[in-house]
């Protein structure tokens, strides 16, 4: 059975041809677990579940991977705003771990009741920080990053293809219209890969999650909150 799907990159419906014969690796963005999902969020999971079911119905073996964003999602649209988990913890007096567990459970309750088939792999962001760091180091080695003000930025000028997927016309986009201009940036469209020096204390969360050793690779400036404290034992399993 042939399957035809819309390809965002080409903006056309194309015949689906997998990289590996009869097999599909499917990655879908999962929830940010700082609050309940709303039904608009849930619509997306229904769509993805329908895609998975269709591919299996058509005879493909599908491996479905979904992440849980339990750190690193900022409240602002750009690189501004607080970490949403940190904000929720501050407002409710609970730990970020408690919040993540509570809303992850709530999410899957909704997910199951909609009759979605669970992903084969569910990966929380906090369990893959090492890989994120390695990826950033690869970008660094490839000359795509720079450090400014203690933060590691992706330099979009080093990547001409940037924006093709979202069809961004970089000249037309008015940066600064919704986002505060970050004077650290070489190009206003550059985005942060790693914070060590956010004014919203994301580094404190990073310390709590990761311990000092993970923050060190890019610590260009001695961070004011660093006190040589090991982060207290994580209740993470």
């Amino acid at each position: 059975m042939k399957v035809y799907l819309y390809n965002t990159m080409s903006r056309t419906v194309e015949e689906f041809k997998p990289i590996t014969d009869k097999f599909v690796g499917m990655y879908c963005c999962g929830p940010t677990v700082y609050n309940y999902a709303h039904i608009g969020n849930l619509r997306t999971y229904i769509f993805e579940d329908t895609l998975k079911r269709t591919l299996r119905h058509a005879g493909y073996k599908v491996k479905h991977v979904m992440n849980i964003t339990d750190v690193g999602h900022l409240t602002g649209d750009g690189d501004d705003g607080e970490d949403k988990m940190e904000k929720s913890a501050r407002e409710t007096g609970k730990s970020v771990w408690d919040i993540a567990k509570f809303y992850t459970d709530a999410f899957f309750k909704d997910y199951d009741s909609l009759n979605n088939i669970r992903p084969d792999v569910v990966c929380p962001a906090t369990k893959h920080i090492d890989q994120m760091i390695k990826l950033i180091q690869r970008l660094e080695a490839g000359g795509h990053t720079y450090i400014a003000g203690g933060n590691v930025y992706f330099s979009i000028d080093t990547f001409p293809e940037y924006g093709r997927l979202a069809k961004l016309n970089l000249d037309e986009l008015k940066s600064g219209a919704r986002i505060d201009i970050d004077s650290n940036k070489k190009n206003p469209k550059d985005f942060v890969l790693w914070f060590t020096n956010s004014k919203f204390r994301i580094s404190r969360l990073a310390y709590r999650v990761l311990g000092n050793e993970h923050v060190l690779p890019w610590r260009a400036v001695r961070h004011p909150l660093r006190r040589n404290r090991r982060h207290s034992g994580s209740p993470h399993q």
Binding site: T50, A58, S113
Partner: protein, 203 residues
């Protein structure tokens, strides 16, 4: 691939725009999560979908209509090698829609047409329903015909049905509605038919 937004009456649905619409809000109003799934399947993933309660009501009515038709088919399922050309053609049509960029709305209409077709046997319809539900995920493969036999209905529910019939005789519509709601809370949907009230287990 990317899915499009759900719109509330205030634009893109989000936490900041008005009532925070979670699934619990919908189930609190009496909808099943599967009604929301049916609602979403009725649109294509690449178009923005306008949320509305009338839309949800229509989805619920349709989905329950499907459940009713399927439960009336009996439990026998035809063998795969005994399927008629007609049934196969419905299944092929269904496939061609879902495999063409997930055109679930059109696929649903094939399901409906197939169910209404007197030219195929109930057992074959059952087979086709199970086949199509692999993609639709509406739990239609689990609908059994054993959802309405009188012996299954609990005594309490039967009593409420009696009380309601009495209230109606006395033109006490408020009480009648109240009893109907209580019956629903106990897990049964009551429908008035020419031959008297009929009960169906809530799905």
């Amino acid at each position: 691939m990317h899915g499009e937004f759900l719109l509330s009456d205030k634009g893109k649905m989000s936490k900041s725009s008005g009532e925070f619409l979670t699934l619990s809000v919908l189930t609190g109003k009496g909808y099943s999560p599967l009604d929301y799934r049916y609602f979403c399947l009725g649109a294509t993933y690449r178009t923005q979908l306008q949320f509305s309660y009338p839309g949800m009501d229509a989805a619920r009515t349709s989905r329950l209509g499907l459940v009713e038709r399927i439960s009336a088919l009996g439990d026998q399922v035809a063998e795969e090698n005994a399927l008629s050309e007609k049934t196969r053609s419905y299944m092929d049509q269904f496939d061609s829609f879902v495999c063409n960029d997930l055109a679930t709305a059109r696929a649903l209409s094939v399901l409906w047409t197939m169910l209404k077709d007197d030219g195929i046997s109930n057992a074959e319809k059952r087979y086709a329903v199970n086949y199509m539900d692999q993609v639709l995920g509406l739990g239609l493969d689990k609908v059994s015909s054993a959802s309405g036999s009188a012996e299954d209905i609990p005594e309490d529910v039967k009593k409420l049905v009696e009380l309601r019939s009495q209230a109606k005789k006395n033109k006490d519509w408020t009480s009648a509605d109240m009893y109907r709601k209580q019956i629903e809370d106990m897990g049964y949907l009551l429908k008035d038919t020419p031959t008297g009230p009929s009960l169906q287990k809530k799905v």
